[in-house]
């Protein structure tokens, strides 16, 4: 039975010339786990909001959405609130009350249930989600992952039939994200809940979905099983921007198909396990060392930390302990580490916002203390914070840029030239006159990057720059960072994102147990790790231990395909 039928839906926002959803049709069977994906701006979020009556945006709607045979517009508000659950991106901004138990009860209170019913439902939900231990805590004391789990649980107490999720894991670290996805899978399998998940991190969710719906410009491009969608996408449009978001196994498979592998002969592999099986079935081992430079950089040090100790409180635990690190000029250093390992703290210590209580920090050969008040931040050091919204004061991005030029004491002509140069470099000329809240996440981040580039930094610190970004935006950011590196800017970023570090960094380090435990160029760094490495490396490490990105693996496989072809000739 179909729980949801979308028939020929066209939706146009007021004052927009093009519809966001264009003759969109989709049927969802009860109990299905559906992943909805597409490039940003293709109408995924609009579609989800239209299904939930309370959140439906204003605009011109044609066509109908049926929930169990009833058009959404005629659906009782109470039924819509109860039976259609909605979880959104930001874990912080969905929590309404100050206590965990009250948050869980909030929806049921609105339904007018009596205390006994609420007590029972809240209790069983807390047990199911393992919330019992923090049931009486204040909501602001929770971690991001716990908050998002709470959001899910407080929707689940209403016993929904259909759960809509709009990029729920984009603000979470990988471990919390995997936990969240596992919980979703459990809900789907054990309760038969129908799930529609909008997601751009497809590595984990692709293999557990029943069906994948790939959207393009407000239409359904493919709606099929995940493996089929993976293969179809490569066969029809190998250069589609979504190919970059596919799981690594599918990307390698697709890369090989594009290089002449007989596609269609086999199902597209989706998980590391399947990918590994596929590779070992067709290719033989090749331990040749890659031509990526193996030697450590030999420039002047841009930043030196020696024996740095830091803690927040006098009696608190040490966050950084005897940490020493040198970042050389011109390198692209990625510092990886788990949640709460002190990566962001290290950035704050580097900028002097948090003061290390022991140890010395030097920038470009000079001790940090010798820099006058803001001298450090003008033409030396720049920071891109996790939330780029906080960097914009004015209503238009251009005004912020102009203010920055004033701080740099540029004349009007120089300022105009600088702004033009930066906006061209980052391809943001078109959004310069927009409000910072009106542009997409990736664009805003580039605008923020542009703002700090006006300070002419020699060392750029980035705090989790890829958080919440899709594969396309990530690759754009990565390219821009590499470009800056070529212009002589030293880049230091802290991240959870193993794949991003593997692709773009020239040196990687791991922060663990308050110290930097291992350091090296990406190839040796990831090849030496067993778990903390890219999916491509986990798949191919038996055959090609030195291959860490999908492209590396594809290149080596193709080389073997060529040799076998020659031999057979």
């Amino acid at each position: 039975m179909d729980i949801l039928q979308i028939e020929d839906l066209t939706f146009t926002y007021p004052q927009a010339d093009k519809p966001v959803l264009n003759h969109f049709s989709l049927n969802v069977k009860q109990g299905d786990f559906i992943v909805l994906c597409g490039v940003s701006g293709c109408g995924k979020t609009t579609l989800l909001r239209l299904i939930k009556k309370q959140l439906a945006p204003n605009g011109n709607t044609e066509g109908t959405i049926f929930y169990r045979g009833t058009p959404i517009s005629e659906l009782d508000l109470k039924r819509s609130a109860c039976e259609i659950g909605f979880v959104r991106q930001d874990p912080d901004l969905q929590i309404v009350t100050d206590r965990v138990w009250h948050e869980l009860a909030f929806g049921l209170e609105n339904m007018g249930f009596d205390t006994q019913t609420i007590r029972r439902r809240v209790g069983e939900m807390a047990c199911f989600f393992g919330i019992d231990n923090w049931f009486r805590k204040r909501t602001d004391a929770l971690s991001g992952g716990q908050k998002q789990l709470l959001n899910l649980a407080s929707v689940m107490v209403m016993q929904p039939e259909l759960l809509l999720l709009d990029e729920p894991t984009s603000q979470l670290d990988p471990i919390a994200a995997a936990d969240f996805i596992a919980t979703l899978q459990k809900l789907n399998r054990e309760l038969g809940l129908t799930v529609i998940l909008v997601e751009h991190r497809l590595e984990e969710v692709f293999s557990i979905a029943d069906k994948v719906c790939l959207m393009e410009q407000g239409r359904v491009l493919f709606y099929d099983s995940p493996g089929q969608v993976g293969s179809l996408l490569t066969q029809t449009s190998p250069a589609h921007p979504m190919t970059g978001s596919l799981p690594s196994a599918a990307r390698i498979f697709n890369g090989l198909c594009a290089g002449g592998w007989p596609s269609g002969a086999e199902e597209c592999p989706l998980t590391v396990r399947d990918g590994r099986f596929f590779l070992s079935g067709h290719f033989h081992s090749d331990t040749a060392v890659t031509n990526r430079s193996d030697d450590l950089p030999k420039g002047n040090p841009a930043a030196e930390l020696s024996a740095v100790w830091f803690r927040y409180d006098k009696d608190g635990p040490d966050i950084l302990e005897d940490l020493s690190l040198t970042i050389y000029e011109g390198e692209f250093f990625a510092l990886l580490g788990g949640n709460g390992s002190g990566k962001s703290t290290l950035i704050n210590v580097l900028t002097g916002i948090s003061k290390a209580y022991h140890g010395s920090i030097r920038f470009f050969g000079r001790p940090m203390k010798s820099y006058r008040k803001a001298e450090l931040f003008l033409q030396n050091l720049a920071v891109l914070p996790q939330n780029p919204h906080f960097m914009f004061i004015h209503d238009r991005i251009r005004e912020d840029y102009e203010q920055m030029c004033e701080t740099m004491q540029l004349s009007q002509q120089e300022a105009a030239k600088e702004i033009a140069r930066v906006s061209e470099l980052l391809q943001i000329s078109s959004i310069l006159d927009s409000h910072p809240y009106d542009v997409s996440g990736g664009e805003l981040q580039r605008a923020a990057l542009g703002k700090i580039l006006l300070l002419k930094p020699r060392l750029l610190l980035l705090d989790e720059p890829t958080k919440g970004m899709d594969a396309h935006a990530k690759s754009v950011l990565g390219r821009h960072l590499q470009q800056m590196q070529q212009h002589g800017v030293t880049i230091f970023l802290v991240t959870h994102d193993v794949e991003f570090a593997a692709y773009y960094a020239t040196r990687c380090g791991l922060l663990f147990d308050r110290q930097i435990t291992s350091i090296g160029n990406p190839v040796t760094f990831f090849a030496d790790n067993n778990f903390y490495t890219t999916a491509a490396n986990r798949m191919a490490r038996r055959l090609f231990p030195q291959a860490i990105t999908c492209e590396d693996v594809i290149k080596r496989c193709r080389a073997q395909m060529h040799t076998t072809k020659k031999e057979s000739l």
């Binding site: 309370q54 508000l77 138990w101 909030f106 049921l108 609105n110 007018g112 009596d114 900028t351 004061i393």
Partner: protein
């Protein structure tokens, strides 16, 4: 363990209203003594783990301070003890000052424990019952304030790294703070739209709401509530029958309890003041015994 803090918010609130009423509107030495004993002992029993010497010296200090300073300003009273700068210092003024000091100290101590007992969840529960809209507002505010604090510190750090605060002048500092404030407000407004969405998605628009709380109304809550009501009635009868009337000026006179019923009444007041302490001690002993059997 069910200590005084585990009482239902309603019983707790009524108890505190009555005890504060008893303390603030009676200057009868016996009642002040009762309230002082109750407040000091409960404060000590409740915070015995982190008790500082200054916590105990504080009530004494206030009482002595008022006893010393009151005669400097008030020269009423018949019994002149001595003259200071040609001004009479009277026994009544000292005695009145001391009594007022004891009252003040007890009120402050009661309020301190009240603050410790009445946590935000209890307040929101009380509000939610009688004024659901205001209660919801309070709850969301309580949840939003820590969020805003965190956002503000992030904004401040970001501004610092952008080379703001480079000048030391007062003007530039004010300008930067205003800009930070503007970012914070924009962010909060943007966030409040999301929160409103989240509330509506879970049916906040629907008409019929109910109220849920984790608090149960148990026998002990009934008991405390009953005691509070009896005390309230006794206070009314007492004031009607001039049981607790006292005059400090011009000559100190007070009605002394004479009949057995008067003594019973005073005794009841004393017990009522000691109620939190007694509950706390009883429960501690009871649960220490239970634990000893584990």
């Amino acid at each position: 363990m069910y200590t005084f803090s585990h009482l239902h918010p309603l019983s707790l609130l009524i108890y505190y209203v009555v005890i504060l009423f008893l303390t603030m509107f009676h200057m009868h030495p016996l009642l002040l003594l009762a309230s002082a004993c109750g407040s000091i002992s409960f404060f000590c029993v409740r915070n015995y783990r982190h008790l500082h010497r200054r916590d105990l010296l504080f009530p004494l200090f206030v009482a002595v301070l008022l006893a010393v300073t009151n005669p400097l300003f008030s020269h009423r009273g018949e019994t002149v003890l001595f003259y200071l700068n040609n001004n009479p210092v009277t026994f009544e003024a000292i005695w009145y000052g001391f009594a007022a000091g004891v009252m003040l100290a007890s009120v402050v101590l009661w309020c301190r424990t009240l603050q410790q007992e009445m946590t935000s969840d209890k307040i929101t529960h009380l509000f939610g019952r009688c004024l659901p809209k205001a209660g919801m507002l309070l709850t969301t505010a309580l949840r939003f304030i820590p969020h805003l604090k965190r956002q503000h510190s992030q904004i401040h750090n970001t501004m610092k790294t952008l080379g703001m605060y480079s000048e030391d002048t007062w003007f530039s500092k004010v300008r930067c703070s205003l800009q930070e404030f503007s970012i914070l407000v924009t962010d909060a407004l943007e966030g409040s739209v999301e929160i409103a969405d989240s509330m509506n998605a879970r049916g906040y628009q629907l008409k019929k709401h109910s109220h849920f709380s984790m608090f149960r109304f148990r026998a002990i809550d009934c008991f405390v509530l009953l005691c509070s009501i009896i005390t309230m009635i006794l206070m009314m009868i007492g004031s009607h029958a001039d049981l607790f009337s006292v005059y400090y000026y011009p000559k100190w006179t007070m009605t002394r309890p004479s009949a057995i019923s008067d003594w019973l009444c005073v005794g009841w007041m004393f017990l009522f003041s000691m109620l939190p302490t007694l509950i706390q001690i009883k429960e501690t002993i009871k649960w220490t015994y239970y634990k000893s059997k584990i």
